[in-house]
């Protein structure tokens, strides 16, 4: 093979090797290997089959978080991080220019959505859901702030976030 032909062959091999590598990595999902996108909090998420008060409490919290995040126009994950500490909440409020009152209103909206979701999932009977809704609507905003203050312990026990609805729930658990 002449020198020129060998040169052309070398360039050809280089092109093929490069295309094969890039093609194989693309086919293996290289273009989409990134952190998972956060889900739209406004979309309904099925509850599954929670067993026991602890799991119902957890689902309830997640629904409340989704509802509040939907109301604020942020992701559920960002809101969860914001509720982790006072400092995180202040940063969050500064970043999105959201007042504490708006956050409190959003948490209230979230709790109402959680009650709706629980009712849809059959975890709460309509008889209980109504009074809980009324209770949530009647909770003053500053008490919602107190709820936020104890956000870190929300999942520690159902009591922490269900508050006045706790007794009703225990009575009417499926």
């Amino acid at each position: 093979m002449s020198g020129e032909r060998r040169g052309h062959a070398l360039v050809g091999i280089a092109v093929v090797a490069s295309l094969v590598l890039v093609g194989v990595y693309l086919a293996a999902g290289g273009a989409s290997y990134a952190p998972a996108k956060t889900a739209d909090p406004c979309k309904h998420r099925p509850w599954g089959n929670p067993e026991g008060l602890e799991q119902i409490a957890q689902q309830f919290t997640l629904s409340a978080l989704n509802g509040a995040a939907c109301q604020l126009g942020v992701s559920r994950e960002e809101l969860a991080q914001a509720l982790a500490s006072d400092e995180a909440r202040e940063k969050f409020a500064d970043r999105y220019d959201i007042s504490e009152e708006e956050i409190a209103k959003a948490v209230r909206a979230g709790l109402l959505r959680a009650v709706n979701d629980a009712e849809k999932a059959g975890a709460l009977s309509p008889l209980v859901a109504g009074p809980i809704r009324d209770t949530i609507r009647s909770v003053p905003l500053d008490e919602v702030f107190q709820l936020l203050e104890s956000a870190r312990s929300l999942l520690n026990s159902a009591e922490g976030f269900l508050g006045p609805a706790q007794d009703f729930l225990e009575e009417f658990l499926p």
């Binding site: 490069s18 890039v22 998972a36 997640l62």
Partner: protein, 464 residues
């Protein structure tokens, strides 16, 4: 180099080829030797990613600016004297680098190191033909010594960083520079007794512009490959410097393989084009890593390694052969290569630092989702979330090692399985974030490699 072309040497004393090659390899290794030490320097000197990049960038900028003036100095003062002084300055600056406790002092010392290094490397190219007997062989040895130094640099630097400290990388260079300089001193003393033919000093041909532009572009791409890959391995995937050194050793090994192809293909233009395509292809592969696994970096590294051996030697040959004086044209190639490295790092650093910040947020959101949706019991989940948050705070914004946050594991088998699943899912999201953060930068570097094809393509018609 004949007597009539440059420095007048009545009875030339010839330093050994090994000493000259070691001097070139040592200096040119310095553009990459600290790559694996950067994460350690970053932590030790408590600086930012952008700040620590200047440990590399400053050296390359000064090398780029000083190489051609240093080559003129070597011809005016005498290559022996210039090489000896250059190596002495280089050794002194190495000592200062090793003694630095602040980033500013380290960067200043790196600049002086580059000044001395540029003087020594260009002067050595003027000394080599007399030692090895032919200009072609001298160019070949000079290019191989430089490429070997640059290729071995990261592995040696990584080993020293882990076994001793990042400072040892610089301190160890002091005796090596002195040992390489001793045989050159004899030439320097001989030159002191002779003079310079002033009229001959002005005879310098024009540099090969296209070959040097292509060298700059390809060097930018290669520097990015090395620098970004090391950061990904150590900072993103949490490998130790020794582990990363072993992984990135694939590139110089592949380069050795690539250099064997040279005699088979006489056309330097074909070798340069094939090399640039392989470098771009390898970088494209690194931009599209489908998983955070070390083994997946090997095929791209093989392409980059073979590519760099082909393209660097072909372009250096094109830029140097048949052009006199060698020191000046060698200076132009050094200048082009280091300017390329500096430009590549300056272009890519803001891109990947911004991408790291974005990906970090996305990874934390994704990790939060994983924690929220996990089957771990709520009480355990809160405790875990707190410990993971603490790990994030401890690591000051870097990708955390989350393993300790999951210790001790719950005793209940069901709960234990749920926790282990959560750990694996979390690690996956962090790995995705760390890997994806580097993708755009590798992509830009691949584009730089492809752009080098433009001057290589024009080089056939235009011989500047």
């Amino acid at each position: 180099m004949s007597e009539a072309e440059g420095f007048a040497v009545s009875e030339p004393r010839r330093p050994g080829m090994t000493a000259l090659a070691v001097a070139v390899g040592l200096v040119l290794a310095d553009s990459s030797v600290v790559v694996l030490a950067l994460p350690e320097i970053y932590r030790d000197l408590d600086t930012s990613v952008a700040g620590v990049t200047w440990v590399l960038v400053s050296f390359n900028i000064v090398m780029a600016c000083a190489a051609v003036p240093a080559a003129h100095l070597a011809r005016r003062a005498g290559p022996g004297r210039a090489a000896a002084i250059g190596l002495a300055v280089f050794a002194g600056a190495c000592l200062a680098c090793g003694a630095s406790s602040e980033l500013s002092t380290l960067i200043a010392a790196r600049c002086i190191q580059a000044l001395g290094g540029a003087t020594a490397v260009t002067a050595v190219l003027e000394l080599l033909p007399a030692t090895v007997g032919s200009e072609r062989r001298a160019v070949s040895i000079w290019a191989i010594a430089g490429a070997t130094g640059a290729a071995l640099g990261p592995a040696v630097g990584g080993l020293l960083t882990e076994l001793v400290s990042w400072q040892s990388i610089f301190l160890l260079q002091v005796p090596v520079a002195i040992l390489a300089g001793i045989p050159i001193l004899a030439v320097a003393r001989h030159e002191a007794a002779t003079g310079v033919i002033e009229s001959e000093l002005r005879k310098t041909g024009r540099p090969h512009v296209l070959a040097n532009i292509a060298l700059a572009m390809i060097s930018a791409a290669i520097a990015a490959a090395l620098f970004l890959l090391v950061l990904l391995l150590i900072e993103g995937w949490r490998l130790t410097p020794i582990g990363a050194a072993i992984v990135v050793s694939v590139m110089p090994l592949a380069a050795l393989l690539g250099s064997r192809l040279e005699p088979a293909v006489p056309s330097s233009r074909a070798r340069a084009a094939a090399g640039a395509i392989l470098v771009a292809g390898g970088l494209g592969g690194l931009a599209l890593l489908p998983k955070a696994e070390v083994v997946l970096t090997i095929p791209p590294q093989i392409l980059v390694g073979i590519g760099l051996a082909l393209v660097l030697s072909a372009l250096t040959e094109t830029a140097l052969l048949g052009r006199a004086p060698q020191a000046i044209h060698g200076g132009w190639t050094i200048s082009a290569r280091h300017a390329g490295v500096a430009i590549g790092l300056l272009i890519l650093t803001p891109v990947f630092t911004s991408d790291i910040a974005t990906q970090r947020e996305d990874a934390i959101d994704a990790a939060t989702a994983v924690v929220l949706d996990s089957k771990v019991a709520p009480v355990e989940k809160i405790a875990l979330a707190q410990r993971i948050e603490d790990r994030l705070a401890e690591e000051k914004g870097k990708v955390p090692t989350i393993g300790p946050a999951f210790e001790p594991l719950p005793e209940d088998p069901e709960e234990r399985a749920a926790v282990l699943q959560l750990k694996s899912d979390l690690q996956d999201q962090l790995d995705r974030g760390a890997t994806h953060a580097f993708s755009p930068s590798f992509g830009i570097a691949a584009l730089l490699g492809l752009l080098a094809l433009v001057p290589i393509g024009f080089a056939r018609k235009l011989d500047l």
